[in-house]
Symmetry: C2
Subunit: 325 residues, 2 copies
Amino acid sequence: MKEVSKLLDYRSDIKVIDATLRDGGLVNDFYFSDEFVRELYKSNIRAGVDYMEFGYKASKELFDVDKFGKWKFCNDDDIRQIVGDNDTSLKIAVMADVGRCDYKQDIIQKSESPIDLVRVATYIHTIPEAVDMIEDAAKKGYQTSCNIMAISNARESELSAALEILGKTPVEVFYIVDSFGALYPEQLERLADIYLNFAAKYNKKVGIHAHNNLQLAFANTVEAAGIGIDWLDATYSSMGRGAGNCAMELLLGFLRNPKYNVYPVLKFIQDHMVKLHDDGIVWGYDLQYLVTGLLNQHPRTAIKFTKDQRTNYADFYKEIITEEV
Amino acid sequence: MKEVSKLLDYRSDIKVIDATLRDGGLVNDFYFSDEFVRELYKSNIRAGVDYMEFGYKASKELFDVDKFGKWKFCNDDDIRQIVGDNDTSLKIAVMADVGRCDYKQDIIQKSESPIDLVRVATYIHTIPEAVDMIEDAAKKGYQTSCNIMAISNARESELSAALEILGKTPVEVFYIVDSFGALYPEQLERLADIYLNFAAKYNKKVGIHAHNNLQLAFANTVEAAGIGIDWLDATYSSMGRGAGNCAMELLLGFLRNPKYNVYPVLKFIQDHMVKLHDDGIVWGYDLQYLVTGLLNQHPRTAIKFTKDQRTNYADFYKEIITEEV
C-alpha cells in the first residue's frame, strides 16, 4: 500500500501537458479560432500547466493545407502570433508523426522557434525513423519525447527492444500512449514497470497519454503518477479523438502541488468549450468506444458510428464481434 | 504487483448487483414502466447478474405514494407481478433506509416474499437502528447487507467501531458506499483494508457502491475487486443519482467469469435507455459533479445546477468555494 504521506504530499517532478489543441484538433480538423487558442494559452499559464501542445507538424505534401486548420501544421510564425516570445513558465510543444512529417525542413533551429519540445509519435515498428527524428530535433536544440502509440497491442519483447534503442538517443521522455483506451490499471502497472526499468537505466523520464474508452483515462493517469510516471497528458473537458483523454480538470483537481489551479480550466470550459458542444462538435466516452476499448481495437469503427449518429450500441457490438478476422 | 494469472483468471466469489431501478429511480422518481422493469429483469438473467435491486422499501407515512413510482415502495405483490416465483438464478434485493422505512410492518416474512436480500442503508451515526433492522430482517429469513453511506466523510475510528458492532450481527456483507464519489483509488484501498480486516475477523463479505463524480466509479470498483472485495454494485448506463454509478456494461466487460455476458446489457440500453435520455431524463458525469466530488460534498448543489440547466461550471465552483462554512 502507498504511504499515507503521499496522499497529502506531492512529487515536484510531475509535469502536466495540455494536449487539447493537438488531440482535440482531431475532432474538428484543427479549426480553432485564434481567440480560443490565445485564451487557452493564458488559461494554461494561470493553471500552472507545464507544457502546451499546439498541434502537429504535419507534412504539407501529404495533407492539404486548405482542408485543415493551421494547428495541423503549427508553423512557427502561427505559434508566435499567439505566444510572442513566450516569456512565461509555460513551455510549447508540437507533435511530429513518423512518416507524416517533413521534419528535416519543417522543424527549424530551436534558436529561431518558439517551440521547446518536439514529441515524436511512432508505432513500435517505426522506431528507427523515430530515432532519426529525435536526433534531428535534439541536434537543432529541442527537448524531445518519444510517444509509442497503440501500446496495448505491443509485445513486451519488442517494447523492451525499442526502449533499449531509445535509451541510447537524446530523447528525454518515453511515453506510454494507450491509443485504444484499452488498458486496465493493473495492465498499465505491468507496462509501466518495463518503461520505468529502462528509464532508470538510461536516466530518462516516463510519460502517459490515456484515452477514455473504458472511463479509465483519469484513473490510469492517477495510477501512473502513483507508481513514478512523471509526465501526464490531459485535455480540457477530455477533448480528443473518439472517447477523448484524461480530463485536465480532473487531473489538476487531483494533483496536490499548489502551483496547479483548477479554476482557470473550469472557466475556460465554461467560456469557450460549452459552445463547441452546442455547435455540434462531438467527443467523449460513449458505448461504441467501450466496445472498441474492450476489444482492444482502433476506434475508427466507433468514430464512424458516432459520425452516423447511431445509438444501436448492441448492433454495433454484434457487427464488430461477428466480423471475419 | 498483482499476479499475472489474475489478469486472465477470475474469482468465483464475485457477485454483481444491479442497482439500476433503485439508484436510477432517484433520477426519475421511480417512474419506470412495467415493460422496462420486466425487460431489465430478463436482461439481468441473461447477463448473469447475481442480484437485482428493485428499489426502496420506503415508509408510506413519510413519502406520498402518489408522488412516486411504485419502486420507491417495492410492495411484494408488485415485485411478484414482474418475477412470478422467480425460478431463476437471479436473486431479488431491496433497500431499506434507516429512519425512512417501516420495516417491522413493511418487510414481511421471507417465506411469503419474492425478496431475497434486504440492503440496510445507514449513516455511520445511525448504526444502532441499522442493527435492529438487520436483526429484524434476518429473523424473518432474509439475507442482509449493511450499506454505510457517505463513507468518504467517516473517521477511521468510528468506522472500526461500527464494523465491530456489525460483525456481531447476522449481516452478510459490509458495504463501502462512496455517496459523494469522492474517493481516489488509493483512498479506497486504505478504507477497504479496514473493512477487509473486520470481514475476516467476523466471516463477512465486503461490497462496494461507487459514484462517478470523478469518473472513478468503474476504476474504484475494479480496484476493489482486485483487493478482495466481492460484492460489486453497478447500474446500466451508470443510471443513478447525480453523476451516476459504476456502469454495468463496463463491469461485465471487465469481469472474466464466463457466466457474465455484456451483450444483453448493451441491448437493453439500446432498446430501453436511449429513450430515457431522449425523454429528457438527465444523469451522469459532468463538471458540477466533479466540483462536489473534489470537495467531498453531498451532490445536492450539483443536482440543482443540473436541474436548472446551467453550464457556468466555473461560477458554480466559485459559489461553492466562497460559501461560508
